[in-house]
Symmetry: C2
């Protein structure tokens, strides 16, 4: 990493400062600093990369690359291959990118590789899912509990604050937190709402409709469904259509393009979306600032033995409704 | 705000794009966009502005202004004049700056003014202290409870994990959270540590030494002092010197320049510092991105009715020790 490291202040002192950039009100970077920046690559190593969920992260990687004059890349196993992701991380470290972003399929499996990357001088950020017991700089993502609270609030209002509901989920820790958020807001503000079942839809588009159809048949008196993973909403929408139960109100999670039409036609009442774009846009900026001493918390963060970046960026969530759904489509 | 708003994409289409910036690998901004950016001012309205605590925020305001080609300014009442701060906010709104950062002396007193600013099209961020029940975009600061846990861990290790201690604080909600963090880590990991008193040092440099001297005399068998506001550490250090009790281990909060020499000479064991620089550096960037549609979470965040920025940036804390104290001095 030492070879890649750009110390902007030293270069400004040592190198020939270009006057032209300054004349246009832009940051004054030396030719050397820019040349070094142009060679730097920030790689987002994800998993299940074939699903549409990553479209906003990918757009942000492109935009951050253009804004900073660096390269960015999105990669990772197509399926939920956690061992494959850990292997790819080691291959990536050997290629010495300027920084690595990771959505961990299995946090425990990724932690040793993250520490090896940081040891090799490559800063790491976690996106959407955290690896708290690692040397990553920053976690960018949502507070799942608060996301569940927002979903619960939307569902409660849609059903008039009372009645039996089911929740749909996928048993990953970050998703289960959202279930707890739903339950907490009901207990706190809507005691007349009863959660009669929590359905595992496996976050699988081909299985989810069956899971919700069976749950509706087993609990015919429900008035609402709160879905907490990206495939819950469409699965529940197909199920209520099939069961002829469009009276059941549905709240979905995320903003997959194949779910949004069900909000437009009223089958789904609303959804809770993550700000995925922010995660990748900020992560590239911050890792680049860490490499180029752009954030001057102390003169030398390596010598001080501190993390110069924020610990956590809680991006918060956005409500999608029939009124604003057009803003969430990827055209 | 409409008049000030810079839509970078529209300007790039409509205006004459300068080729020179592009040739140097910098973001291609039109002359019009740069001119508009140069006229934009981001103001940090704080309170008790006379204390040295704000030195890192001020440095970050200067650096962010240079990086973005905008103006930044630090202002606010010299003393803890919360009514004066609320008045200044209204005066500021009338002058229509591009964005406002606020450290609230009294969150309840500032909330209506923050909402008026946002209503007028001026985005607001909160720094160091939050105004959660307001329309601010983002809170940048620490989790006080976690800061207290880190302080408690440092103190516990310094005293060998056992004995009587006192904690020092100032009764503001964000500071009292740190006291709870100290107590929590002791309860969880160090049950042989007993908190025998919590001293109110009023965050007042002239009163704090007296407060700690009296507490030491009342509890002569203490082995440690954990200070949770910026004036606790130096106050406790003066008191142990005066009492001839340099055997008492002290952990301080923050990085005031007049406290750091006591870490160098060993009177204070260590301190827990906030990353104030990050708060202001990121806040100016994010408010500017909000104004210029730099973060494209949705095509039009106003039409979508959503907050395009993160909800919370938890900057985390840094341990200051005898080994790295040199990195924290403001030379």
């Amino acid at each position: 990493m030492t070879g890649l490291k750009v110390n902007r202040r030293k270069l400004l002192t040592a190198g020939a400062v270009t006057g032209l950039a300054g004349a246009f009100g832009l940051p004054m970077l030396s030719k050397q600093a820019l040349a070094a920046g142009e060679g730097m690559e920030y790689v987002f190593l994800s998993v299940v990369t074939q699903v549409p969920f990553w479209v906003d992260h990918r757009a942000a990687l492109d935009d951050a690359a253009a804004a900073l004059g660096v390269k960015t890349r999105f990669t990772g196993p197509l399926d939920f291959d956690t061992a494959g992701q850990a292997r790819q991380l080691d291959e990536l470290i050997a290629r010495r990118p300027a920084g690595i972003m990771i959505f961990p399929g299995d946090a425990a499996a990724m932690a040793p590789g993250i520490d090896r990357a940081v040891e090799a001088g490559i800063p790491v950020a976690c996106l959407t899912g955290d690896v708290p017991n690692s040397r990553r700089s920053t976690f960018f993502g949502i507070n799942g509990f608060n996301a569940g609270r927002m979903g619960g609030e939307m569902l409660a209002k849609a059903i008039g604050g009372k009645g039996k509901v089911i929740l749909g989920t996928f048993p990953a820790p970050s998703v289960l937190e959202r279930v707890e958020g739903y339950k907490a807001i009901f207990a706190e503000k809507y005691p007349a709402i009863e959660v009669v079942d929590v359905v595992n839809d496996k976050a699988d588009p081909s299985y989810a409709p069956t899971a919700y159809l069976q749950a509706i048949q087993a609990n015919p008196d429900i008035v609402g469904i709160g879905g907490t993973d990206g495939d819950s909403g469409k699965g529940a929408a197909i199920a209520v259509n099939e069961a002829g139960r469009k009276d059941i109100k549905i709240v979905a999670m995320d903003r997959n393009d194949d779910m949004l039409p069900y909000i437009e036609d009223g089958t789904i009442h609303g959804a809770v979306a993550q700000k995925s774009y922010i995660e990748a846009f900020l992560a590239v900026h911050m890792l680049h600032w860490q490499n180029t001493d752009g954030i001057k918390v102390v003169p030398d963060w390596r010598a001080a033995g501190i993390n110069p970046l924020p610990e956590t960026v809680d991006t918060g969530v956005m409500p999608i409704t029939a009124e604003n759904v057009g803003q969430f489509k990827h055209v």
